[in-house]
């Protein structure tokens, strides 16, 4: 049976149980001893009384003097415990009796005459002491007597003294002894119980305190300590717990410090740009919000600058990201050096920076911004052997009571920056709500949503425009360019030039290109299914963003692998700008596509950088001369010379040349004269819907 006892219970048990056992044993021993002593003492006393009484009674018996005997035994009978005394004569007669007593006559005959006889009963003891004659020497010479008549015949026994002793007193004192001893035992047990309880409490109290403290520490209250009260083992335990708690606390403090440091670092990282150490967009928006609040509530004036680096993209593309990063770092340092203490400079991402000038009028702000711009302009970035000059376009917005939200402020500054860029870069433009350029920018922003809606609502269409030979010869292969159209809410068609710039700026081109490719592939399938006799080459435009997008390339490759027969029907038109900075990637792409029989055209040649280096390195089949030269070819001899030059170089490189924007027969005639291979334009063929090319789309719902 397992009883779980507390320490106090065990201490009490330890103190009381042995005490109880010893006490009971002692009690038993004492009582037995005492009773034996009492009984022995009673017997001794009785024997003494009987022994003394017997000779004293001698004379009374001898003389037959009953009165003498009565007096004598009367005195003996008043002794305690004596129940009765009697004197018997030698022949067994009763001479005298005092008190109670049952004297059996028959006994007298068997009584010994030389000693005291004891008869023991449960509650009494009876003694018979023989009364004998006392011999007294009265003759001086025994020899004389020896001869004379001997008195030997005379018996020396005179009688007996009977003594009956009660054992009640012994029994009573036995009971008293038991009761007293039990009381003492109980009192002793009580005292030891109390002492054990006290000792147990002395032990358990510190232990309970320890337990409490340990559980408090366990709950995390590491500052908790035990009161150092004990000396021995308990003291060591208390010391140990305190030591442990102190250790834990210091460990926790250290840990907390590390956590605080890490948290601070995280907070710093969350609010700062890792590259430049400037605060990031999130933090900047918070500060902007505060500044806006102070402007709204206290009427203060602040200024927000949105700064975009010019030529950053070129450095990044030609020298790699490491160069771009280094440029950003150096510029951040430069700009930081020109900051006032209360100004906030942040990197919003890419090459975009923002500057918050608090309590600063627009005039001052413009001055500050111009200082910045000039600093950047003076700055030269050195990378390896090359030295670059950079510029900075700044869009500025005033923060005052009339400002809306932080988002609108940022949007306004961004738009102003766009205008600054648009106006030739490296300048500052202050946002004004009536600004026309801004309005256009706003329009672009609206285009973004409209494109996305059109994608979702499937309001994009492809139309086709024929590309014919200049000499009018009809080839076996039909050349067609697929053109993107957006169907507006009112059903009218929107030309790509309206929305493509917005799509390019806001990175929607890959989505649009994907849609175009998908549609083209379906178209090819339809065309092939329709079993047209003429081989048709469908030309589609690919943006630079799509070309750089590996996911787009992967998908296109996958489609061609699934359906290789389509390959020879596809011609991809890429611009020079799209190829710049990604020449290797673009050439790899071109190589991969050529495997499937695809062909390539360099589009809008002459409008951009018009670098012959690129032309030389790009493995294209067709060179499309930008329409800007073709449009006025009849009247502008420079344009004509340009076209002739481009055509000549193209031919020298083994490329077929295509002239766009052929609007009239005069233009056609000039081109024919020059010898351009293909012509395209409204004067040749106005774009038509696909149905006219390969019949109605049965798959389209």
């Amino acid at each position: 049976m397992a009883i779980s006892l507390g320490i106090r219970g065990r201490v009490i048990g330890l103190a009381v149980v042995p005490m109880a056992i010893i006490g009971v044993l002692l009690l038993f021993q004492l009582i037995t001893g005492k009773i034996d002593d009492l009984d022995q003492s009673l017997r001794t006393r009785s024997v003494a009384i009987a022994r003394q009484l017997a000779p004293a009674a001698e004379y009374g018996v001898e003389s037959g003097n009953i009165e003498v005997l009565r007096t004598l035994i009367g005195k003996a009978a008043i002794e305690p415990d004596i129940r009765g005394v009697a004197v018997l004569s030698g022949d067994g007669r009763w001479l005298v009796q005092v008190g109670r007593g049952t004297w059996a006559d028959s006994v007298s005959g068997k009584l010994p005459i030389d000693r005291i006889h004891q008869i023991e009963y449960k509650d009494r003891l009876v003694y018979y002491a023989p009364i004998t004659r006392t011999e007294v020497v009265i003759d001086d010479f025994q020899a004389v007597d020896a001869h004379t008549a001997s008195p030997g015949a005379q018996t020396r026994l005179l009688g007996w003294v009977g003594l009956e002793v009660s054992r009640n007193a012994t029994l009573k004192s036995q009971r008293d002894a038991i009761v007293r001893s039990l009381l003492i035992l109980l009192a002793g047990l009580g005292v030891s119980l109390y002492l054990a309880w006290r000792i147990g409490r002395q032990i358990t109290r510190p232990i309970l305190a320890l337990t409490h403290t340990v559980s408090r520490i366990g709950e995390g209250h590491l500052e908790e300590r035990v009161e150092q009260s004990g000396q021995a083992e308990l003291g060591m335990l208390q010391h140990g717990v305190n030591h442990m708690a102190a250790h834990l606390q210091s460990m926790q403090d250290q840990m907390q410090e590390k956590i605080d440091q890490a948290t601070a670092r995280l907070i710093y990282q969350a609010s700062h740009d890792a590259l430049t150490g400037l605060i990031n967009r999130r933090e900047f928006e918070l500060r902007l919000e505060r500044a806006l609040q102070s402007a709204m509530q206290q009427g203060r004036e602040h200024a927000l600058c949105y700064m975009d680096l010019d030529q950053f993209k070129v450095i990044n593309d030609t020298c790699g990201h490491a160069a771009g990063d280094e440029l950003l770092r150096q510029l951040a340092l430069l700009l930081k050096g020109n900051l006032r203490e209360r100004d906030t400079l942040a990197r919003l991402g890419g090459d975009e920076f923002a500057l918050l000038l608090e309590n600063c009028s627009i005039a001052d702000a413009l001055e500050v911004a111009d200082t910045f711009r000039a600093e950047v302009q003076r700055f030269r970035f050195k990378w390896g052997e090359r030295i670059f000059a950079v510029g900075m376009s700044v869009g500025m917005a005033a923060i005052n009571r009339d400002s809306g939200t932080t988002a609108s402020l940022l949007s306004a500054a961004d738009a102003a920056c766009y205008v600054a860029k648009d106006r030739g870069r490296n300048q500052i433009h202050l946002y004004e709500s009536r600004d026309l350029d801004l309005a256009r920018h706003r329009g672009e922003m609206q285009w973004v949503t409209r494109i996305q809606r059109a994608l979702e609502e499937q309001r994009l269409r492809l139309s086709w425009q024929a590309i014919n030979r200049t000499d009018g010869v009809v080839e076996t292969t039909r050349h067609v360019e697929l053109l993107l159209r957006m169907v507006d809410d009112d059903g009218s068609e929107i030309l790509p030039m309206a929305f493509i710039p917005a799509a390019e700026r806001y990175f929607i081109m890959p989505s649009l290109d994907s849609w175009v490719i998908e549609e083209t592939l379906r178209l090819c399938t339809r065309y092939l299914t329709a079993e047209r006799e003429a081989h048709c080459l469908f030309a589609v435009n690919l943006s630079g963003a799509s070309l750089k997008d590996p996911e787009f390339r992967r998908k296109l490759l996958m489609h061609l692998q699934e359906n290789p027969v389509i390959g020879p029907h596809l011609c991809f038109e890429i611009t020079e700008t799209a190829a710049i900075g990604n020449l290797t990637v673009v050439n790899d792409f071109i190589d991969a596509m050529r495997e499937f029989g695809c062909s390539f055209a360099l589009d809008d040649f002459g409008s951009g950088l018009s670098s012959f280096t690129y032309l030389k390195n790009l493995k294209v089949d067709y060179l499309k001369i930008d329409g800007a030269f073709v449009r006025d070819i009849t009247s502008n001899p420079i344009d004509r010379a340009m076209v002739e030059a481009i055509h000549k170089i193209g031919h020298q490189m083994g490329l077929k040349t295509v002239a766009e924007y052929v609007e009239s027969d005069q233009i056609l005639a000039v081109l024919r004269q020059i010898g351009v291979d293909y012509v395209q334009g409204n004067g040749i063929h106005s774009p038509e819907s696909l149905e006219s090319l390969c019949g109605p789309d049965l798959n389209q719902g």
Binding site: S63, V136, D139, D140, F141, D145, P151, Q154
Partner: protein, 317 residues
């Protein structure tokens, strides 16, 4: 036993040879010069030796010699032709009484009752031999005189006697009467309680005179007798020093030394006579009185001192 007898016989023959030589010498030197007296003791006890030592001392002082023999195994030869034999104690006397050709015998420390009744007859054998005695008893006259001296107020003297000794009553009564004392007596019957006759005597008498009667006074009865007498406030006049110690108010007695001295005087006197002549049997001439002062105080008696009493009693024989 045979061996022992043979040895004794050899010793006896050797002694006889020496005796013949001695007799020849003695007959030449004459009897008055020196005599060897044979002293026979009942046994080797202190009292008898005490008497012997006193006798020997006195005889040697007078130029005689004493030889010591014991009652057991005494023979005629052992007496060695002594002119006189002294028997100390009853048994010594009785052992001599059976020897033939015995010299005159003086018996000491013997009760008068025994000598009167048996001793004299057996020792003299009807006059063929000479004999005398010094009794152990005190004369009644002396006792009566002492009573008078010690208890001037006393009138009646109580006595307990067995039937055997009742013959003394006449002499006692006569002695008491001479001192104006009357006798109260009771007779004891063997086997009966002596308390009743004792109480009857004590209730009448002023004092109890203890006589050496074994039936009345013995070691067993003494305590009861004394205690009873105390209850009656009657003093006891005893006959031995032991009795005084046991509770008698006073005792009149003669010691073995005193009797031995008297015997030596008698022997010296007898040796100078031819033939040897012994005085008539007699009570002791020398005596002592002992008093128990404690009993005297208890009973309220004021007595003259022992020495005073002895002195005043000196003339009484």
């Amino acid at each position: 036993m045979t061996g022992w007898l043979a040895r004794r016989w050899t010793e006896w023959q050797r002694a006889t040879n020496w005796a013949l030589v001695f007799i020849c010498l003695a007959s030449v030197s004459g009897q008055a010069v020196a005599a060897r007296v044979a002293v026979v003791l009942s046994e080797d006890s202190t009292h008898y030796q005490e008497a012997y030592q006193v006798i020997r001392a006195h005889l040697e002082a007078a130029g005689h010699k004493a030889s010591r023999t014991y009652a057991e195994g005494v023979t005629s030869a052992a007496l060695n032709d002594a002119p006189l034999a002294v028997a100390v104690g009853v048994r010594a006397a009785e052992s001599l009484a059976v020897l033939p050709n015995r010299p005159p015998v003086l018996a000491l420390l013997v009760p008068r009752a025994w000598y009167v009744k048996n001793g004299r007859t057996r020792l003299t054998e009807g006059g063929r031999y000479s004999a005398s005695a010094i009794y152990i008893d005190q004369p009644f006259e002396r006792q009566a005189a002492l009573i008078r001296l010690a208890f001037p107020e006393a009138r009646r003297v109580g006595v307990l006697l067995s039937a055997e000794q009742e013959g003394l009553l006449g002499e006692l009564d006569e002695a008491l009467r001479s001192q104006q004392l009357s006798l109260v007596h009771a007779r004891l019957v063997d086997g009966e309680h002596l308390i009743k006759p004792l109480e009857s005597v004590l209730s009448e008498a002023d004092l109890l005179l203890a006589l050496p009667d074994p039936l009345a006074f013995n070691s067993n009865t003494a305590q009861s007798l004394f205690l009873t007498s105390y209850r009656y406030r009657d003093p006891v006049l005893g006959y031995s020093r032991s009795m005084t110690r046991a509770g008698a108010l006073l005792s009149l007695h003669s010691s073995p030394a005193q009797i031995g001295r008297q015997a030596a005087e008698w022997v010296n006197y007898a040796l100078v006579t031819v033939p040897v002549h012994l005085p008539a049997p007699s009570y002791p001439a020398y005596f002592s009185i002992s008093i128990n002062e404690q009993v005297a105080r208890s009973l309220g008696f004021t007595l003259p001192s022992e020495a005073e009493l002895e002195k005043r009693l000196g003339g009484v024989r």
